[in-house]
Symmetry: C2
Subunit: 339 residues, 2 copies
């Protein structure tokens, strides 16, 4: 390790002529310090260029001032937008962010969560985790502050930020139905994720409400990635009677669908309509611009941070659940079916 010769509170104590516990108290914002000593300490710490050692602070029972953020991957703009929102909000506080990428690996999630509980961070933000309920139980038992972003636990015992996934999917499907489509394909997301389940449910509900049959064959697994979305679309397009419209459970898989459609030499929206979900920035940039369901990604990050900060301030805070609204964004990828 590097030859760290950073000043410690002990050095400051000497410099200021006080005991080092006084320094500690002053620096960690303790009230009852005489104004004159406080000034002496501050001056000394300034002079020596003191920077607190977070490890020591946290080891001794203080806060680490770190918020752990657990994300499945960095390859989906949907995630990075949420992280961006988290970071924005965190910037206003004096917390820093420690990022754990699990690559959708459950074992890693558990390991990371353990490390975090073990003092690495003061709280945990779980973004669309695959994490299983037992693990959340551990966090709760330890009374460790955490919030779920875009995921729910079965037992409904976690503070969480979600969006109206079911309603959004319903609207997406309804939009297509309203345009006159009757054969609507669905590219499903990762079945372990609550959002995927709800979107599927919204899709089915809309079909039912408008008396359209639900066909298992019109559902293909896109797993929220563009590659799988592509493959799933191929599957649908190769059917004898392919759908005239496709609703993809997220934008990323919609991009894969786009590619598959193009390869089939079909035009969007003339030959086939497409709706996505998320409204990541690229959705407005692809050609044709994607009609999609907007999730307030940044805001999801904001709200998550606000909740966690509240929990940190009030450990006894009661369970909270925030549901943000989604919104249909009509762009250029939908039209009535061909006559």
């Amino acid at each position: 390790m590097p030859g760290n010769k950073m000043p410690t509170i002990y050095d400051i104590a000497k410099e200021a002529g006080v005991s080092y516990s006084t320094v500690s108290r002053t620096l960690s914002g303790f009230e009852f310090v005489k104004e004159s000593t406080r000034e002496k300490v501050l001056a000394a710490s300034q002079k020596l260029g003191y920077v607190p050692n977070q490890q020591a602070r946290s080891l001794a029972g203080g806060p680490s001032n770190l918020i752990g953020v657990l994300v499945p991957t960095l390859s989906n703009e949907y995630i990075t937008q949420i992280i961006h929102g988290i970071d924005d909000e965190l910037t206003k506080s004096n917390y820093n962010l420690i990022l754990y990428t699990t690559n959708r690996h459950q074992g890693k999630e558990a390991t990371y969560a353990a490390a975090i509980m073990n003092g690495a961070a003061d709280a945990l933000l779980l973004v669309a985790p695959l994490i299983t309920d037992p693990y959340l139980d551990v966090l709760r038992e330890q009374n460790f502050p955490y919030v779920l972003i875009d995921q729910a636990d079965q037992s409904d015992q976690s503070t969480a930020v979600n969006t109206t996934n079911r309603k959004g999917a319903y609207e997406a499907t309804h939009h297509l139905i309203r345009l006159g489509h009757r054969r609507i394909g669905f590219i499903a997301g990762l079945p372990q994720l609550n959002s995927a389940i709800e979107r599927f449910s919204g899709y089915k509900a809309a079909l039912a409400d408008y008396d359209l049959p639900f066909c298992e064959e019109y559902v293909a697994l896109g797993k929220f990635t563009s590659g799988n979305g592509y493959a799933a679309a191929q599957q649908l397009l190769d059917m004898p009677t392919p759908p005239t419209a496709i609703f993809a459970a997220n934008d990323l898989s919609a991009f894969g669908v786009l590619e598959a459609i193009r390869e089939h030499r079909l035009r969007i929206p003339e030959d086939i309509s497409l709706v996505g979900f998320d409204d990541i920035p690229q959705a407005a940039m692809v050609y044709p611009k994607l009609t999609t369901i907007r999730q307030p990604l940044h805001q999801m990050g904001h709200e998550g941070v606000k909740l966690i900060l509240e929990m940190l301030a009030d450990p006894a805070m009661e369970l909270r659940r925030i549901t943000l609204d989604t919104q249909l964004i009509v762009r250029d990828s939908c039209a009535p079916p061909r006559a």
Copy 2:
């Protein structure tokens, strides 16, 4: 703080019937431990669900197994792609990532760097920092491992990963010249950044090589953001004799240019040509698809991590500098000027 009741090496020691220093040695991979005791210790730690406390480990002189990554912002896909590359490579090691966002705030960079040197992380990856040389001197004096990604220091004393910015900008400009353009505007980047300076220099060099006059008025400041790129383009397009082509110093500002051009009711590439720099994923998604200079963003992250890992393994490693190649990606945003 939460009621952490995580097992410590002391608990393992009891369980395994050895002293806790033996546990420490076993767990931190010390060689001279009898095979049988090693097994006992490992079994006990397994049984108790032991997770090492990084704070304590690092405080006691061990590594934190954390790599600090300092980025200016999360709002540019160019940055998130590099982070993605860093993360990929880090995932293969047993290091985790602690992310510091400075929002281009110099004071923060200094504070963060100090915190990091103070034990928060074992090494530092600086992505396009605005950080000033004196600060890098401190890192070097303390012999703290760091690498610069996409930035160079004046004194050329830092291990760094860069790309052929000047050559790339030259090619971009040359591409436009070859198409027949003679009035080529330039949207400049943040002048504090080396990459911005080199791209500007490449632009000028190409003009000079092909006997085109360099006009100050054809240069506008885009600062690498889409908003400023938009404003800069407005400025160029409102000139009495506007350029017939624009080279934007990065894709993000090119997107701003795109918008400005659209508002001027001009078509790309028929009325005006546009080239970007970076090749972020959106570049291929906008309409028309953007011709640009590709930087191997992921790879920049990979190489940075590889370098830092080498430095960690060999503290005496000599200075290294890696320069990755850029590449002209021709898409749909350029054409010969109107006759």
